[in-house]
Symmetry: C2
Subunit: 133 residues, 2 copies
Amino acid sequence: MAVHILTMLARSGDENVKSECIAGSVNTNAVVIRRLLGQLNNANLVVSQTGAFGGTRLARQPEDISLCEIYKAVCCGEVFALHPKSPNQDCPVGKNIEAFLCNLQKEIDQSVGEKLRQYTLRDVIAKIELAYA
Amino acid sequence: MAVHILTMLARSGDENVKSECIAGSVNTNAVVIRRLLGQLNNANLVVSQTGAFGGTRLARQPEDISLCEIYKAVCCGEVFALHPKSPNQDCPVGKNIEAFLCNLQKEIDQSVGEKLRQYTLRDVIAKIELAYA
DNA sequence: ATATCTGTAACAAGTATAGTTACAATTCCC
DNA sequence: GGGAATTGTAACTATACTTGTTACAGATAT
């Protein structure tokens, strides 16, 4: 959804886009969009303006926003989950497996980040416009 | 948790390990373990035996089980989520973004798989035994 | 036969997300 | 200044998912 939102903004250039309008395309409620826009704003990817004729636009050019930045701005977890409760510290496996898995998570996360860094919003627009050209 | 379980089994060699015993190390209920063992069994990673003195053991040697296989056996989603509802098909972005994101998901998933394929259960054991040597 | 395990169904509790309503704060335009 | 429009955010509901738990049938060794 974050990619969807930013793609919409990218296609509108400097014009402010209303959360209601984005919600229509994403097919959800405007508040859901505004929540995501808040996260994207925290990551300095978008700029919002309150009041009449307000709305949101990209903070940078589409070619300067990678999918990795978007992912980091809104991601809420890791690729795989760790133990919900800490394992038994009296067991040699339980005592040491968490550190191992935690390192593995970081490694995987980095690998995902590198992949996502290969794409920018500009690439997304290109792919999408190609599809209905 | 799946990695934890399989590491326990790997360290027990050909001996059957009871779900109760694994639960003690993972710090959870035996049924939770048996549920995961069921998935690992479907993936032909473990062999279980019911009845008295039953339990579970690895189906193969630890060096022949990669973390990628474990991940695929128990993974229940993707790295990032797609739209909960389908986007608006009357919008050029909404109409085409899902296909793009779906392809991206596959690409990322493959990249994660390649990373995880670099590690086997044997490596996990080595790391863990190093930690308390 | 009996004791011991697994496999699985059923259910409760906790947690997360999405969607919704409501409203204060902000801003433009007249 | 006043009214209309829009964001930001709080609060609540509904849904869904995961975990943990109890219960029990089926299988197996002694």
